[in-house]
């Protein structure tokens, strides 16, 4: 029987969503044009050639190395692209993803990337054409909601603040805005430089939908212990206790 990785324990909706994010088996909710994703990232203009930091690997004459022979380079590495990044911020108010789960998603599903997890933001670095692909996957899939998540290269602190009246996550640089038609528009790139034209990101999730898709345990949503008043905690808590116990013992008495 083929082995199925068990990424995360628990029977709560959050546990199920966390497993789904880690497995990479994500639902596609929208299809943003690639040029719009590239414009929002702001590293190069859509259609422009990829600048490179070294010649393509084939022309370089690599040393005789078994690891290099075993590992196929990503398209970006093979072409010698620059390393570039995309950074996302997710609101505490039931955003579909959170920095740790974006990183798990990246580390498990994206080749040749370097995910970085911080309290309020999550960055993935990779070769330029690779990171563009990974960013589009994130932007299109259920890890992203246009009101509760946004690409922010700097000034990310809206994640921990209350939402605005229209349900958007606060952004000091006003990179996205809610249009009168109910769609969210990207008006600046991820570092706050205005775009030539607005990018329509689509409609945000309803509150109920966001609560259904979230990977955040919250007392006013789904608690990590599972159903309140149940005789037994959810498996997620048991597994957490188990890992904590083993780690503490191992930490105190390495053998």
């Amino acid at each position: 029987m083929a082995y199925t990785p068990q990424y995360y324990p628990g029977t709560t909706s959050v546990g199920i969503n966390r497993r789904k994010h880690m497995s990479g088996n994500l639902e596609k909710l929208r299809d943003l044009p690639e040029a719009d994703v590239v414009t929002t990232m702001g590293h190069r203009k859509p259609g422009q050639d990829y600048p490179s930091t070294h010649p393509p690997l084939k022309e370089m004459g690599e040393p005789d190395c078994p690891v290099r022979q075993a590992v196929e380079p990503t398209p970006g590495a093979a072409a010698g692209d620059r390393v570039r990044y995309s950074q996302w911020t997710d609101s505490y108010y039931f955003a579909p993803s959170i920095p740790y789960w974006r990183s798990y998603w990246g580390a498990i599903n994206c080749r040749g990337c370097d995910p970085g997890t911080l309290s309020g933001r999550q960055i993935i670095e990779a070769r330029e054409r690779d990171i563009e692909g990974y960013t589009k996957k994130q932007a299109d899939s259920e890890v992203n909601d246009v009101a509760l998540c946004s690409m922010r290269g700097c000034t990310v602190h809206g994640h921990s603040l209350r939402l605005e009246e229209n349900g958007m996550m606060f952004d000091m640089l006003a990179r996205t805005e809610m249009g009168k038609d109910g769609n969210v528009y990207q008006v600046k790139d991820q570092v706050g430089i205005p775009l030539d034209k607005k990018i329509n990101l689509g409609k945000p999730m309803s509150e109920a939908e966001a609560k259904k898709r979230t990977t955040i345990f919250r007392v006013d949503g789904v608690a990590i212990g599972g159903k309140a008043g149940a005789r037994k905690y959810d498996e997620a808590v048991e597994a957490l206790h188990h890992m904590w116990e083993l780690r503490s013992k191992w930490g105190y008495r390495p053998e």
Binding site: F170, E177, G192
Partner: protein
């Protein structure tokens, strides 16, 4: 044993469950102002800079944050924060119920309102460094000591003064 005086001031904090758009902030502040009995009021929230403060886009103007004028009690001033918390002091207990009703009228979503101690009444070292000796003690507790420039709006029955 001390008895609470009916005439002692009451300090109140209002926390809406969402950040307020300038129009809602204006509506709420006007309702609060019209309720009367206000000694002082302090509006707080995350800063809305006029230009990108750092990063590759540093210095680029943020047009969305310009001209956020609100008019309260016939006086206009410019909002520099997204209103998220309002602390105020009332002349006495009798204005509290009206204040609560004013919030209910102005806010289309839930809010918390509570009484407590929200303004300091003795001068701190930072206050002294910023202002020196002050005559009007109402100014104490109305200033963010970390602010690089003074952000102050004192509302009184006579006038609204705004010092930026």
């Amino acid at each position: 044993m001390s008895t609470k005086s009916d005439t002692s001031t009451v300090q109140v904090e209002i926390i809406p469950s969402r950040y307020l758009m300038p129009e809602t902030a204006q509506r709420l502040l006007n309702e609060i102002y019209n309720n009367g009995g206000m000694v002082r009021i302090f509006v707080q929230g995350p800063n809305m800079p006029r230009a990108v403060p750092y990063g590759p886009g540093k210095g680029i103007p943020i047009d969305e944050h310009r001209d956020m004028l609100v008019e309260i009690g016939g006086q206009a001033f410019e909002l520099t924060v997204k209103v998220g918390r309002i602390s105020l002091e009332l002349e006495n207990e009798s204005y509290f119920k009206g204040l609560e009703a004013a919030c209910e009228r102005a806010l289309p979503f839930s809010f918390q309102i509570r009484r407590g101690k929200f303004f300091h009444d003795r001068m701190t070292v930072s206050d002294y460094a910023k202002f020196g000796e002050v005559e009007d003690k109402r100014i104490l507790g109305l200033i963010d000591p970390k602010a690089k420039r003074d952000k102050l709006a004192v509302l009184s029955d006579e006038s609204v003064t705004c010092d930026k």
